[in-house]
Amino acid sequence: MSAVENPRTDVAGGTDGADGSVTFGLTVDGTAHEVTARWDESLLTVLRDRLGVRGPKTGCAHGRCGACAVRADLGDGGHVLCACLVPAATAAGGTVETIASIGGPDGALSDVQEAFLAEGAVQCGICTAGFVTAATELLETNPDPTRPEIEAALYGNLCRCTGYGRIIAAVETAARTRRGATS
């Protein structure tokens, strides 16, 4: 998970308002929005407060907890990032997939979500959307992760309730399920 370091200036639609606001297009979970936001607002604020997209959570607003993790393509190929670290203007013209985009067919749970429930990886659940997002990305790139690989992929996500044991078990279970389903 990382912040986008270089805000792009090449995206169309950035109308500067007199009050320091910008207007730009943003696609969230498949829906195109036109957003007007203060340029220094975070993508997390845009999602939660401007668009009412509440799946990404605010744990720290400083890039330390991963509760706000989303998958986003901001012109750089797409990866998991902390929405709280992305300035809104940087997200202009981008595509964001939140936890709402993760799921099986017909509203069913994805294998990762299912495994989180089965293994008891959810307690208070405030970290869960971030973990499911990061774990989903991991298994798409590495279907058979070792424990160190799971740790390396998830160490940007904090959980204060579970002690992580059930989360690791859930990722391993989801990986097994997926390998079984595709072999």
């Binding site: 744990g59 429930l117 008891g120 208070c124 002690g163 992580y164 044991g165």
Partner: protein, 791 residues
């Protein structure tokens, strides 16, 4: 060790790894937390906080702030219509600063405005003139310094003895131990939404641990009677004690009443550190005397806890620490004393373990020091001294329920040590690879009191209804992540044979369930639900008996089926079509009594836990990797294996955090690390492998023999990690968190070992406890009794 299997009486009943009913919404990101709350016409509330740990307020001018566009209210203490003070135990804390601020971060004014940016601007526009006063930041000085509050600087002084404290064996070991300030660091910062109600009252949805306590304290400040203060639980993102005190609840309600609009307050992470209560940092001096075979002859202990600016639960926490200094060991002779004091540091209160992790860290270090002095095995010395059922505590209470201390130690001993390579210390970067890494193995055992203590009423009420196999369960028990919702559902399935269960969101329309703390809600609210379910079941069976002309006494419910004399009669779901059966039942534990009362016990129940930690330490860099923690815990019965494991693992990792990395650093009264960048909680890389086993000896008087399980894993994890690091490094390490420099530079004094002439206990001394009102000595003399000062 007894088996951990419990017969499951219905699908999804007690003993099964039932999934959380709120789980699907949580994995979809659809579960609504307090921070997600929103309402039509909602204003945003922001708090102006003191930058000074101690100052007189000469003036507060809100004129400019009130005049700003979009600002609907700016409130100071003069706008509090009711009582200006609140607090969980003593009412010593102002709702908004009243002439003086006593900690950095104390709320001075609150603002409601159309959006957060406007509210923040307005808060900055409030002009406060402070006269900065010297901050009292040393808890030792607090005892003799001028009072920083009209109620004085001592929250509580506790002192008692039992038997002959001067009895001696062949050796004494003594040392001074220090425990740092830990933040609960629940992951969802405080949030709530208040709105005025048509009857002139106020309603608040808030992430809290204790709805009725909030209701009472909001009532004090607003001047409203309880029936006009409606509290309901919003989705809670962790708590761990940090939501037991009121923070934003009263402010949001005052703003809603002042503006006539819904008002939401959501803290930032930094505010969260400033606003909620921390775990008490403390200094503990202990002296143990033992025979040559390691049997404890006497224990003397003194505790000083820094309670910070306002009382919160400091008067209660100190008694936990002092009375449980004996650990899970038989101690016939002792002298114990402690103070919790007021300073201008951040206020401390409840955090998972409630004073006992501090005690456990100290007594377990002492047991290892005794074992080392006497050349005994650390496990053997613990077995030698293990409490047994029938023993009497130093504080006079007889352990008359199962007391499986030996059993948890033996159970743990059966778990094999990890083999094979482990990850190197140093995080994902694995910065420590190579020859300076040493392995250490440590042991620790703990005792934790379960439920409220010393006369604080421990009760809950449940309303249950059943119609066509669908049960509804309503309590005021706050679900904070621990999984009470699952337990309530399991009880309804087991007792009622319900096919579906709806656990209603808690509110103050039902009687108090007390706090979700003290490992108590399965015992209190679980038992209330159990009783209400039994009453509903009996009503339903009575109806079935009349309809079938049967004797109700022959009817039972098993696996969702009504049976007559054991023969299936038909499913519960169709037993009485269209009929609704209801019951409301109350549960209260037998009364407890203050320390020293002739009436009897201070505590409701106890839980015991043993752990073994294996660590790898880079002794040059001071980095620690916790490879494995094995646990054996006294759990009464296993209600839900998966959720139980979650409590054990989560608690252990929090305790490991206190042992190795978590510390709220306070310099001159200011928190220097109020964010998750500098306040480190364990990540997935830090978390060890955890092996969890159980002793299931049912708790008398509890349905299925269940008992609280949430705190003991944390309590034991603190000393066990420290013990393993000591074993790896050979260093005394008398302070937690153990920082890299403590290891790399060898900071911290070793226990003082003194060989003594045995002196048997004077048989004429009373068994005790004998409670003294007067302090024996100032706690500042701890070091003079032989223990060199710690780091």
């Amino acid at each position: 060790m007894r088996g951990a299997k419990v017969a499951t009486s219905a699908p999804g009943g007690i003993g099964a790894s039932v999934r959380r009913p709120d789980g699907p919404a949580k994995v979809r990101g659809e579960f609504s937390y307090a921070g997600d709350l929103t309402a039509e016409g909602m204003l945003i509330g922001v708090t102006l906080r003191s930058p000074h740990p101690h100052a007189r307020i000469l003036s507060v001018d809100t004129t400019a702030a009130r005049a700003m566009d979009g600002v609907h209210a700016v409130l100071t203490v003069d706008d509090v219509p009711g009582d200006r003070h609140f607090g969980l135990v003593l009412r010593d804390e102002p709702v908004l600063a009243d002439g003086v601020v006593r900690y950095a971060g104390e709320p001075v004014a609150v603002v409601a405005a159309v959006d957060a940016a406007t509210a923040r601007r307005a808060a900055r526009a409030v002009e406060v003139v402070y006269e900065v006063l010297p901050a009292l930041t040393d808890p030792q000085l607090a005892l003799t310094a001028a009072s920083v509050h009209p109620d004085g600087n001592v929250y509580r002084h506790v002192s008692y003895s039992c038997g002959d404290p001067d009895a001696r064996g062949v050796v004494t070991v003594e040392n001074t131990y220090r425990i740092g300030m830990q933040d609960p660091a629940f992951l969802a910062p405080e949030a709530g939404l208040a709105r005025p109600t048509p009857d002139g009252g106020v309603a608040i949805e808030v992430a809290t641990q204790w709805l009725h306590s909030d209701q009472k304290q909001i009532g004090w400040a607003t001047g409203l009677p309880p029936e006009k203060v409606h509290v309901s639980l919003a989705g809670v993102g962790g708590a761990f004690g940090g939501r037991e005190d009121v923070t934003l609840q009263t402010h949001a309600c005052l703003l809603a009443l002042a503006t006539g609009r819904p008002v939401k307050i959501e803290y930032t992470r930094e505010e969260s550190f400033l606003a909620h209560r921390q775990r008490h940092p403390g200094t503990i001096w202990l002296r143990h005397s033992a025979d040559a075979d390691g049997r404890i002859v006497s224990v003397e202990g003194r505790v000083l806890l820094d309670g910070g600016a306002y009382a919160s639960t400091s008067p209660v926490v100190i008694t936990n620490t002092v009375t449980l200094l004996q650990g899970p060991y038989r101690v016939d002779n002792g002298r114990f004393e402690g103070w919790s004091v007021r300073t201008n540091n951040p206020s401390c209160g409840a955090m998972r373990g409630f004073g006992v992790p501090q005690a456990a860290f100290a007594h377990e270090a002492q047991l290892d020091a005794l074992a080392a002095a006497l050349d005994l095995d650390p496990v053997e010395i613990r077995l030698t001294n293990a409490l047994q059922r029938g023993d009497v505590a130093t504080f006079g209470q007889r352990f008359d329920a199962p007391t499986p201390v030996r059993e948890v130690i033996e159970g743990l001993r059966a778990v094999p040590l990890p083999t094979g390579p482990a990850k190197a210390p140093g995080g994902v970067g694995r910065s420590a690879e190579g020859g300076t890494v040493r392995r250490g193995v440590g042991w620790a055992v703990s005792i934790k009191n379960l439920a409220f203590s010393e006369g604080h009423v421990d009760e809950s009420t449940a309303e249950v209804s059943l119609r066509d196999g669908h049960a509804t369960v309503h309590t005021a028990c706050a679900e904070v992540g621990q999984g009470f919702v699952t337990v309530a559902e399991q009880v309804a399935r087991t007792v009622l044979g319900a096919t579906t269960v709806d656990v209603v969101q808690p509110d103050t329309l039902v009687a108090s369930a007390g706090s979700t703390s003290a490992s108590r809600q399965t015992m209190a609210s679980g038992t209330a639900v159990h009783r209400a379910c039994l009453a509903v079941r009996d009503r339903m069976l009575g109806r079935v008996a009349r309809a079938h002309g049967l004797d109700a006494a022959t009817l039972t419910v098993a696996d969702g089926v009504v049976c007559a004399a054991g023969r299936p009669l038909g499913p519960v779901a169709t037993a009485a079509p269209g009929q609704t059966f209801r019951a409301t039942e109350h549960f209260q534990h037998p009364a407890t009594h203050p320390l020293g009362s002739p009436e009897g016990g201070m505590y409701v129940a106890f839980g015991f836990s043993a752990q073994r930690a294996v660590v790898d330490v880079d002794v040059e860099l001071g980095l620690v990797s916790v490879v494995q923690i094995a646990s054996c815990q006294d759990v009464g019965t296993v209600v839900n294996p998966t959720q139980l494991l979650g409590q054990i693992e989560g608690g252990i990792v929090q305790g490991m955090g206190l042992a190795l990395m978590e510390e709220v650093v306070v310099a001159d009264g200011l928190i220097t690390n109020p964010d998750l960048q500098d306040y480190l909680i364990p990540t997935i890389v830090d978390a060890p492998e955890i092996v969890s086993t159980y002793v299931t000896d049912p708790e008398p008087g509890m349905p299925h023999g269940w008992k609280g399980v949430g705190e003991p894993p944390l309590v034991t994890a603190v000393p066990v990690v420290a013990a393993a690091v000591r074993a790896a490094t050979g260093l005394p390490l008398p302070a937690v968190p153990i920082k890299p420099e403590h290891i790399a530079l060898g900071i911290g004094a070793a226990p003082t070992v003194t060989w003594t002439t045995p002196r048997p206990a004077d048989p004429d001394r009373p068994r005790g406890p004998v409670v003294d009102e007067e302090p024996h000595d100032a706690p500042g003399t701890m070091a003079e009794e032989g223990a060199p000062p710690g780091p």
